[in-house]
């Protein structure tokens, strides 16, 4: 789940400590926050529900309305029986082949330039109900690629239901370490498609700051679902100290000047047979990239719109569509003025994501997605781009098989597995059809096309 700049051919090689001011910037642009999302069987054991009640396709993070309400209710719903142990474990292994071997400077430590296989993640979860109103989603992960443990995701919630006038409302508070982790929909960074991707993948283009802070910040978010339809959330975030980051093996995003502000508004309508939601999201923060040179900060303002639709029916044929568009305005006071590492004081970034899925019998799944990120022309900032732009676009196709997770499944609710194949194709990478790789050689965007086979299992 942690962002890894080393995943970026042509980018990792340019990431030297000498250009301190770019560190956060490059992390923000090229972090791969949406690596492997989660499936937590301890929730199924706690509620007596099947995986398919909460998750489209019986596995992974795509939530049904029932799953959304479970999350907003603070992970506390139960079948009334005590003695449920809130522990789960997850393993993700994959093999990936890239169209053309990556440059020596871009390959990951411990691995080759192509045809890599890895146990990418082994995670332990403390996930479940602690009291009537308090529940947790805490994940610690060992990366078989980076060869280290880290505290991955933290979401500790207090929630309660009450009446406001004659309307139902759910009020909650979340202490967490990642903006968008708290979101109940599948359109924003942490929870959107692809729900599993390889650390060896070249990534999906520049992303706004909001999507690249996982693990390096701590936040307190208050939220409310009013009358089952109106969702609002406000969160305040601050960066962790260097000591704190070292303790949990998290990456350093620099130091906020003031606090980062996250907000979210959405309208959601559940008609049982189908449902939809539409919303707005924003994040503002001033970031001082170099902790030894505080005072001047880069300013980021993110604003997004998103929408989703699910047809669930009798669960035999399920269709979903998730879409989001995000714009980021950047004022690079530090990178431009102090370091002269950018051509422009002000830049912008636009990101579009779309994914549609079909699942048959909660077992066989097919998903297609497109990604498109575009940014201002800035040759200093985007040194590996031949035209000074970071534009990256392409498509992702996935087929998967989830044999268990239903009420009558073998081993339920302990045995859970998904096997799949995923193909990523690139139209543009770092500006156009070609860019400079880490060795300084021209490389075609399509050279990064990849096939991945994956095994994703949890107990």
């Amino acid at each position: 789940m942690r962002a890894s700049s080393a995943k970026w051919p042509g980018i990792a090689g340019g990431l030297g400590l000498r250009i301190v001011g770019k560190i956060l910037y490059v992390t923000a642009l090229f972090g791969l926050s949406a690596s492997v999302a989660n499936a937590v069987p301890s929730y199924a054991r706690q509620t007596g529900s099947d995986c398919v009640s909460c998750h489209v396709g019986g596995y992974g993070p795509q939530l049904t309305p029932y799953g959304m309400n479970f999350k907003l209710g603070g992970y506390t719903d139960t079948d009334g029986k005590d003695m449920k142990i809130p522990l789960s474990a997850m393993l993700v292994a994959n093999w990936m082949r890239t169209s053309k071997d990556v440059a020596e400077a871009d390959k990951l430590e411990y691995f080759g330039t192509n045809n890599n296989a890895a146990v990418q993640e082994v995670s332990l979860f403390l996930a479940g109900r602690m009291t009537d109103n308090i529940g947790t989603f805490i994940q610690s992960t060992y990366s078989g690629v980076e060869k280290k443990w880290a505290l991955d995701q933290v979401d500790i919630r207090f929630a309660r239901s009450l009446k406001l006038g004659d309307k139902d409302a759910t009020l909650g508070l979340s202490l967490n370490n990642n903006p968008t982790l708290t979101d109940p929909f599948n359109t924003l960074a942490q929870w959107r498609f692809p729900y599993v991707s390889s650390d060896f993948n070249a990534g999906f283009g520049p992303t706004p700051l909001m999507e690249n802070l996982g693990g390096s910040v701590a936040g307190a978010n208050a939220y409310m679902l009013f009358d089952k339809n109106f969702y609002a959330e406000l969160g305040l975030y601050d960066t962790l100290s260097t000591t704190g980051l070292n303790m949990i093996n998290a990456g350093d995003a620099g130091k906020f000047k003031g606090v980062g502000t996250y907000w979210r508004l959405a309208y959601v309508k559940d008609m049982k047979r189908d449902n939809f939601n539409i919303g707005l999201v924003g994040f503002n923060a001033k970031v001082q990239p170099d902790r030894s040179d505080l005072g001047t900060a880069n300013d980021y303002r993110d604003l997004g719109i998103d929408a989703a639709y699910q047809f669930l029916g009798n669960r035999e044929h399920i269709f979903t569509v998730n879409a989001s568009y995000m714009k980021e305005w950047q004022t690079l006071n530090y990178t431009y003025s102090n370091l002269a590492e950018a051509d422009n004081l002000k830049n912008s970034l636009n990101q579009f994501r779309l994914a549609g899925s079909y699942h048959y019998n909660q077992t066989w799944g097919a998903t297609a997605g497109i990604f498109d990120s575009r940014g201002s022309t800035d040759s200093l900032l985007y040194g590996s781009s031949l035209n000074g732009r970071p534009n990256t676009s392409g498509y992702i196709l996935q087929g998967d098989w989830t044999p268990w997770g239903k009420e009558d499944s073998w081993g339920a609710p302990f045995a859970n597995v998904r096997l799949g194949v995923q193909y990523t194709g690139y139209n543009r990478f770092m500006g156009g059809s070609s860019y400079l790789d880490g060795d300084g050689n021209e490389r075609r965007a399509t050279d990064n096309n990849t096939v991945m086979l994956f095994l994703w299992t949890s107990i």
Partner: protein
């Protein structure tokens, strides 16, 4: 007088049709309705409780009587309801009106035909 007789005939016909439609509910369609409306919180399998109790054998059962389900509200346990088809129909149409103070977070199913079908499905679970 004639007018009143006509209205009475229409009323009787409507009630009769209503009873017939309930009696003629399609359990196969009802299984789909169950999956859409009920299945997240209730199982149709015997002894399988979720957030709500198993609905296997629910028709004819006393309210709050599934022995190993501990999530009933006091309101449900004290309701003294026996789940006849008519009572289930009233309940799933307006849960909070039939059992005020109950825990079930469900707004109700307006569609009479869908209610009839799901009751037919529940009746088949024996």
């Amino acid at each position: 007088m004639k007018k009143y007789s006509l209205w009475a005939a229409v009323f009787i016909a409507a009630v009769t049709l209503s009873q017939q439609s309930m009696a003629a509910g399609d359990p196969k369609k009802g299984k789909d309705v169950f999956a859409e409306e009920c299945g997240d919180c209730h199982s149709a399998a015997p002894g399988k409780n979720k957030k709500g109790p198993s609905l296997f054998g629910a028709i004819g059962r006393k309210a709050g009587a599934v022995p190993d389900f501990s999530g009933y509200s006091e309101a449900m346990k004290q309701s003294d309801i026996t789940w006849s088809a008519d009572k289930v129909d009233s309940y799933i149409a307006q849960p909070r009106k039939v059992v005020p103070g109950g825990k079930m977070k469900y707004d109700g199913l307006d569609d009479l035909a869908a209610r009839t079908d799901v009751i037919a499905y529940l009746s088949s679970l024996k």
